[in-house]
Amino acid sequence: MDNTRRDDIDAVFRKVERFTSVGATISALEQLASSSLHADDDLLSWPVLKLHAPQWWRSAGEDRLDALFGYPNVLSLPRTRMLAGLGLLLPGTTRAQRGALAATMCGTAYGMQTQMRYGLDGSDHMAFLNFAGSALEKLFPDNARAREAVVVFLAAQACLSYFTSGAAKLASPVWRDGTAIPGIFRTATYGDRFFYELVRDRPWLAKTVAWSTIAGELAFPLALVTPKPVARGLLATGAAFHLGNAKFMGLNRFVWSFCATYPAVAHVSRALGPRKESPAKKPLAGATRRGGSARTAPRAASLLVGAGAAAVAGAAVYRRVRSGRVRAAAVPGELVTVGGREVHAVARTGGSGPTVVFENGMACPATGWSWVWEGMEPDTRYVAYDRPGTGWSAPAKGPQDAERASAGLRELLARLGAEPPYVLVGQSVGGLLIRSFARRHPELVGGLVFVDASHPDQLARSAGQRRTLPWLRQRMTSTWLRAELGMLPEPQRLGPFSSLPAPLAAQTVERMKAPASWRAARREMSQWPRSWSADAAKLTDAGGRPVAVLTASGTVERDPVHADLQAELAALSHESRHDLVPGATHESLVMDPQHAPHVADAIAWTRKRAAVEEGSLR
């Protein structure tokens, strides 16, 4: 009777079981060969690990748990797994026996892995699924439809795993630019010295490997629907991929548990993929219906995609219109027309002494300086403005390189009637732009204040900053897309702005929901390494003008190289000061009422010296 079930589906599971069992048996033997790992005085000691054992296990009683999972008794689990694995490899095992052995594999895996928690990987998960599928299939010996469903489940799990892996890599900037490859392979844990040396100085090769991996993993599910030769090619590529990972990454167990799913994928592929039909055969009624549904499916998919695209476009238009209304309704400063477009500026041109000109950090509107304004002397003249697209300023056409940024600021100051000398205050990348302005208009500049400012060589000299850059770019992009769709999570993304004084906090937070600021920030991200840094580096001497540098302690803690770079900013002039602000972060240095007075104090120091300098020239 048992032999009657030895059909296609049984053949699939026979292969799944055998492949998975080879890996599981080797794994069990490896565990037994390094059994001391589970001893009471080693890393996976049960007296320690039982602290995070599941609560419901405790109802069994601590003595029983100790008897099962304490050393050396716990080794009975890998021993059982080894025997069950060998049993599944033996020819002539009945279906009932195979079902029981596969269930044993699941039970022991659950016990062992829940006890261990550490030292597990994706191959263990996939092996569990394979054995679980195999055991479930044996519960329905007479139901081909149910057995088929289990095969589909395994194939779907395999496709989901590969696709997820490819999609997660596609979403990663370090995978897209290929730097993930030397990054991973330089480690001893998952890398290989030979492979690392091969890709280290060949970015094109690293990028090729990265994109081949992404494309291969994303394409894997196509094995379900493509013609047989293509499907076979995809599976062969998958197997070669795992063998390569076993050699160069030490992922030997993945070969067995992942390749074990391929028979299930191939079986479903045969059912779903295109079939050769004999022209002599008349189409059956059912086939006609299938043909009908085959024509309907793409239409339905097109309709769905079209509806989705229309919804996204509608949301974007709505947000843009709403954003324009919000911009017009609540502008904290004034809108000045410069170069044919509106620029938002907050200015106080009446007063005395040098005019303070603020240059913001990336994606920061002028209102970010609110606490600093409050800390300045009442008669201080100042101008803060939003660069194109940021805050309440209209976007500009074309790239805003250092030349155009300086020219735009020069024209704005002239329009506002802001009198020189200017004390330029730049936060973050704003520090680069004030150097560019000072180099082009030295006669107008009385002093420079750098507020946790970027250094022109920052990306070249700080590995940490270099590594962060693609993630920052990715964050700007994702924030922009979320803003377009109205899905911006306020507290996390806009946190620093909410600490500004009322009512500017609410106005700024509301304004930062507009996608334009984030789109502008993305554009500035590309100008920063291309134009702004190189241009700023040309100012190597502030010409004796006073220079104040404020550094956030939090930035130095994250990146020690930052301290050296900040000291170099202070060295631009013989008349300089450099303050490290304890407890401050890159943003809170300006936007937190606790730290902003440090900035106001540095500005007052610089203005005083700039005024003396101006007086002595007169």
């Binding site: 033997l29 419901w56 030292g119 597990l120 993930a180 010295r193």
Partner: protein, 183 residues
């Protein structure tokens, strides 16, 4: 064609429900969405694979475990590294018994580094499983000087084969008294 009884139809429906739910939970797991009951039933996450392998942020550093002793006279020994990783070989493609230890140590260290990044106080960290597991390990499995009194361990991140990058200290434990009776 064999007819199915009501019971077998119910069993079949239950199977579809199980497989569908399992697959849906696996999809959710990729987005770190996980029902609370699974935390109780399957806290080690044996049943649901997470397939975002090496992405979006792949690990690009090795974590090293260093140990030193405080001697009876109050002086301390030099930091000594406990070697874990082995160079790759063809044999490891089939037989790699050290891999579990490598991965377990890596997981424990990452777990501890995660707690440190969360700014949990030392009182909290000293009572956690990764801290106790490492302390247990360095106390008993790492060599100690005969006149050692207490032990301390250090986690250091390095660029692995990239020797141009400066190592970075991730975590330093307190000194803990060694059980000298067993030695």
């Amino acid at each position: 064609m064999r007819r199915h009884s009501g019971a077998s139809l119910a069993a079949e429906a239950a199977l579809y429900g199980l497989l569908g739910t399992w697959f849906a939970l696996t999809v959710g797991q990729q987005f770190k969405k996980r029902p609370r009951f699974l935390e109780r039933v399957d806290p080690g996450n044996v049943t649901l694979p997470v397939s975002t392998f090496f992405a979006p942020r792949p690990g690009t550093t090795d974590t090293h475990l260093l140990v030193r002793d405080e001697l009876l006279d109050g002086s301390t020994t030099e930091w000594a590294e406990y070697p874990v990783s082995q160079d790759r070989s063809l044999r490891q493609m089939v037989w790699h018994p050290n891999r579990r230890r490598e991965k377990a140590l890596c997981d424990v260290q990452n777990d501890l580094a995660f707690l440190v990044r969360q700014d949990k106080g030392p009182e909290h960290i000293h009572m956690t499983v990764p801290y106790l597991a490492l302390l247990n390990f360095v106390s008993h499995r790492c060599p100690h000087a005969p006149d050692s009194r207490r032990v301390q361990f250090l986690l250091v991140a390095s660029g692995g084969h990239d020797e141009t990058e400066e190592p970075d200290v991730l975590f330093a434990s307190d000194f803990h008294t060694l059980d000298t009776e067993g030695r």
